[in-house]
Amino acid sequence: MIQLKNIFRWYNSGANRNFVLRDISLDIKEGEFVSIMGPSGSGKSTLLHLLGMMDEPNEGEYLFLDQSVLKIKEKQRSELYKKHIGFVFQAYHLIDELTVYENIETPLLYHGISSSERKSMVADILDRFNIVGKKDLFPNQLSGGQQQLVGIARAIITNPKLILADEPTGNLNSKQGEEIMELFKTLNAEGVTIIQVTHSEKNAEYGSRIINLLDGRIEKV
């Protein structure tokens, strides 16, 4: 599903080049649950953003579903992204002015889905996540775990093939964290590919594969 070939990413600061990613090559198949680990500054998030097409490498090649992401047009890329990828953030990043229901509905608006269809899709997912009672609350009325639940609901409502999660449990206590990871596991079992960045060994264990990053390189284990 995903193929990275010799990816480099650097920032220029003055005359120096600060490498964030060096020569990353990676193959991820559909249905995998990959955990990316590594200390702060090792390039985990950058890698995730590259995978999510929110950032571009300076060098290298990126194939997503056998399409070369870096060579297609901006518009096609955002189509590709919109269709296949859902994002889950450490800080949830819900829109504060919208209710739970509306937050989950928003991606459907951008997908141009009709109003009645939207209604049933959102209702399904609220039901599935057991948050029907919370649908009219605003994000600041929810606990962190509940907010992340909404974040995940929003990410999967468009039925993406791939979920990218940037430390999804980073701001949660261990019990909430466990619940989220269990949810990911279920989703994975249903066929969704998941790539998560995490600090926690325990959470990483949920994945089927662990990639360790150090100073922008993949450590061979």
Binding site: D55, Y81, F87, L94, E97, E102, Y110
Partner: protein, 794 residues
């Protein structure tokens, strides 16, 4: 999708109530001002358009030159009309003589009213396309007929049919009602003419008018013409301008040219310089047009400023939306529709503000009868396109700016506003304050000029005097009896009659000669004929010589000159000198201190006072000081009723008449001050909003500084400094431009105040004070905040 945008927009507005208020209210005030000024301009431009022949009608004006001084006025001589009719028949479709529009007593039975009307030739009603409700528009060819307005007919006859009823004019002549026409709207120059009466009767009834029929140098009448084409005015003016000089003697009569003043310029371009149109109210139209545009601009600037300042707070939302699949186009649409929503709300509020302020405040201030033309599709078209335009323009910057954010940076928190991101905002603040400070300086100088002219010594005591027009024959010829009876009431100190009130000089004459006069000069003097008691009534001050007096039988050939007149003659010892005029020899018996009878903004006209009881037409009464005015008037009224039973007792207070001379300047001053206050208000709203965002953005910095030991004062000056800098720059730009503009304006007045330095100092200090007051609230509350809290948010 659109629903979603609106929902978000409304929730955003509700969540940031203060911000929303500043944004919507500020913009709506700006729009309301622009709308008021737009309506005002529309009204000014609509003058006289109610006459169907608006484009081809015109008035003949006379430009006379005496002693190198040129003046243009409406007064023409009667023979001119015949000459134009006979010699230029192809150029004029119609020509009609008319008298001035002045007061008459019109009566039907016991119903008596004092109303203004005109003697006109029969063609005029047709030229003006009066809307006849009854009767014939050509009826004035019968010299015993009268045409009335609907409203006059109502008050005279009530529900009775007015046709063919007889009304009595000035207690003297009967006229038969031959037609009733619809009242002309107030934006017609003929609005104040309540009736038209036939010119031929004027000739038959008044000997002096009859005599004027052959006098080319008697300029006492008006002449209206209708051309065949609207673009013919200049060509025909060139053709006829020298007609009077063929009949006049340049040596004695001075130089004279005529010109055609098109009706479409009567209202807005009515001032002349050297025989050419030099301006008029059109200057106010431009002035207010510019002010309105600026105030609106200020409001739009605020709107953009606040939206972009806020945009940084909404960066996260943009990031999230992009991360969950929004395209840039969709974000642009979202922010544009948000701004359109806000502008639309502001527009609705503006319409409400205008609707409220028109009847209660604006119409009185501007002396208008404006209403919002709700039924006019053009009005709505302009308003809607204007709303759309404002919304798109002021929303476009935030829309394009916000939608360009890169989601990764925003969501990671590494997003930083660039060093120069606030530069445009700073420039906008400078523009706002430049306009505001200019308006403050302007307002102060306008009021200073008015005050300066008001405190000018007038040379007589205008308090406690009333003036009465002598409309009917009964009032003439009883001078002493009337005066004695009035004084006997105990309410009157003195009474006099004269040919002009103390607030005007109605007659100007040439043909004066004296020892040592430059033989080529044709000096022009104001002439006021007065009775013996005039000086003692108005309390003028004799500087040299003596006042008119009953003790001297010869005073019918005596003159009193004002100081300006003495200066013009150049006589060293004027008392006892002889002046030749009107084939008679007159002796100067006194010099009176200059009286401000005409415009207080102009130099005093050289004026000659003499005694000729045939010319008088105004009674001036000085009430006894210390008595309640209403009681005094109640005592005076029966005396006038006795002498003049056919007329209502109509009088004017002299001090009120004098105050009218300041009306137009005071109106400009008041309007300018209202706009200045609004401009300041809008600028302050913007500043307040910006300051609050700045304080919020710098929360962390403030927290760190506080932890390091900064005092509240340190922080306050840190935060205020930035704004003071901007305002100082504005003052530096505003001061010279205001100086330039206002010294130009003051050139209009010969009697003018200086522009003093303190005006700039006060305006500048005021602007800085207002800025500090606005910014300090935010600065101090930011400085007082607990640093632990603000640092924890990071």
């Amino acid at each position: 999708m659109f629903q979603n945008y609106i929902k978000i927009a409304l929730r955003n507005l509700r969540q940031n109530k203060g911000f929303s208020f500043i944004n919507i209210f500020g913009l709506s005030v700006g729009m309301a001002v622009a709308m008021l000024i737009g309506l005002w301009i529309y009204d000014e431009l609509s003058f006289d358009t109610c006459h169907e022949n608006y484009e081809t009608l015109g008035q003949v004006m006379t430009t006379q030159t005496f002693n190198g001084e040129t003046g243009t006025g409406q007064a023409v001589a009667i023979p001119l009309s015949e000459e134009l009719k006979i010699k230029y028949p192809k150029d004029f479709r119609k020509v009609a003589m008319a008298s001035w529009n002045f007061g008459h007593i019109i009566a039907y039975g016991e119903n008596k009213f004092s109303k203004d009307g005109m003697w006109v030739q029969p063609e005029l009603p047709e030229m003006l396309t009066l809307k006849m409700l009854k009767g014939n528009i050509k009826a004035l060819s019968d010299p015993s007929s009268i045409l009335l307005t609907e409203s006059l007919s109502k008050i005279l006859f009530g529900e009775l049919d007015p046709m063919n009823k007889l009304v009595k004019l000035d207690n003297k002549t009967f006229f038969k009602v031959a037609g009733v026409y619809k009242d002309l709207p107030y934006n017609s120059e003929f609005h104040n003419s309540n009736f038209f009466i036939p010119w031929d009767k004027y000739l038959a009834e008044q000997q002096w008018v009859k005599n004027s029929q052959t006098e080319w140098n008697n300029h006492s009448f008006q002449l209206f013409v209708q051309l065949n084409r609207s673009d013919d005015f200049e060509r025909i003016t060139a053709k006829i301008k020298d007609v009077p000089m063929k009949h006049l003697n340049a040596a004695t009569d001075g130089k004279e040219e005529i010109l055609l003043h098109p009706m479409c310029e009567w209202h807005l371009r009515s001032e002349f310089k050297n025989g050419h149109i030099s301006g008029g109210r059109i200057q106010f139209v431009w002035l207010f047009g510019i002010i309105g545009t600026f105030v609106l601009l200020l409001a739009c600037i605020n709107f953009m400023n606040l939206s972009t300042a806020r945009s940084e707070k909404r960066a996260k939302e943009v990031g999230v939306r992009k991360a969950i699949g929004s395209e840039r186009r969709q974000l642009i649409n979202q922010f544009l529709s948000e701004s359109l929503l806000v502008v639309f709300m502001a527009f609705v509020l503006a319409v409400i503000l205008v609707q409220l302020s028109l009847p209660t405040f604006f119409n009185e201030l501007a002396d208008k009868k404006i209403s919002i033309p709700f039924g006019n599709p053009v009005f709505w078209l302009i308003c809607i396109s204007f709303t759309l335009f404002t919304g798109l323009v002021s929303g476009s910057y935030p829309a394009f700016y916000l939608s360009s954010f890169e989601p990764v940076k925003v969501l990671k928190g590494t997003f930083r506003v660039g060093k120069y991101a606030s530069l445009p905002r700073k420039i906008l603040v400078v523009v706002q304050f430049t306009v505001s400070v200019t308006l403050i300086i302007g307002t102060i100088i306008v009021f200073k000029q008015i005050q300066y002219a008001k405190s000018r010594p007038v040379g007589y005591n205008r308090e406690g005097m009333i003036s009465i027009n002598m409309n009917t024959p009964e009032l003439y010829g009883h001078y002493d009896a009337l005066r004695n009876d009035l004084i006997k009431t105990g309410a009157v100190e003195n009474m006099a009659e004269s040919s002009s009130p103390t607030t005007g000089v109605y007659s100007n004459q040439i043909g004066f000669d004296w020892k040592g006069k430059d033989p080529n000069a044709i000096p022009l003097f104001g002439i006021v004929s007065v009775s013996w008691d005039f000086g003692k009534t108005v309390h003028w001050k004799i500087k040299e010589g003596r006042d008119f007096s009953r003790d001297y039988g010869t005073d019918t050939l005596s003159l009193i000159l004002n100081e300006a007149a003495i200066k013009l003659t150049g006589l060293k010892n004027p008392i006892g000198e002889t002046i030749k005029w009107n084939d008679k020899k007159w002796k100067i018996i006194g010099i009176v201190k200059d009286l401000v009878m005409e415009s207080p903004f102009r130099p005093i006209k050289p004026t000659v006072f003499l005694m000729n009881m045939e010319w008088v037409n105004i009674i001036t009464v000085r009430l006894k000081p210390g008595l309640p005015v209403r009681e005094s008037l109640a005592k005076i009224e029966p005396v006038f009723k006795r002498f003049n039973p056919g007329s209502p007792f109509d009088y004017n207070f002299v001090d009120e008449e004098y105050a009218k001379k300041f009306q137009s300047e005071e109106r400009v001053g008041k309007l300018a001050s209202v706009f200045a206050v609004l401009a300041i208000l809008i600028s302050c709203l913007g500043l307040f909003g910006l300051a609050s965002f700045m304080a919020e953005q710098r929360t962390k910095e403030i927290g760190v500084r506080k932890v390091l030991g900064a005092s509240v004062f340190n922080l306050w000056s840190l935060l205020s400094k930035d704004f003071i800098k901007l305002v100082v720059i504005s003052i530096l730009i505003a001061a010279p431009s205001a100086y330039f503009l206002l010294s130009n304006w003051l050139q209009n007045y010969e009697y003018r105040s200086e522009i003093s330095w303190w005006v700039f100092l006060v305006s500048g200090a005021g602007a800085i004070f207002i800025t500090l007051a606005t910014v300090s609230y935010q600065a101090i509350s930011a400085a007082l905040a607990n640093p632990v809290k603000s640092l924890r948010t990071e």
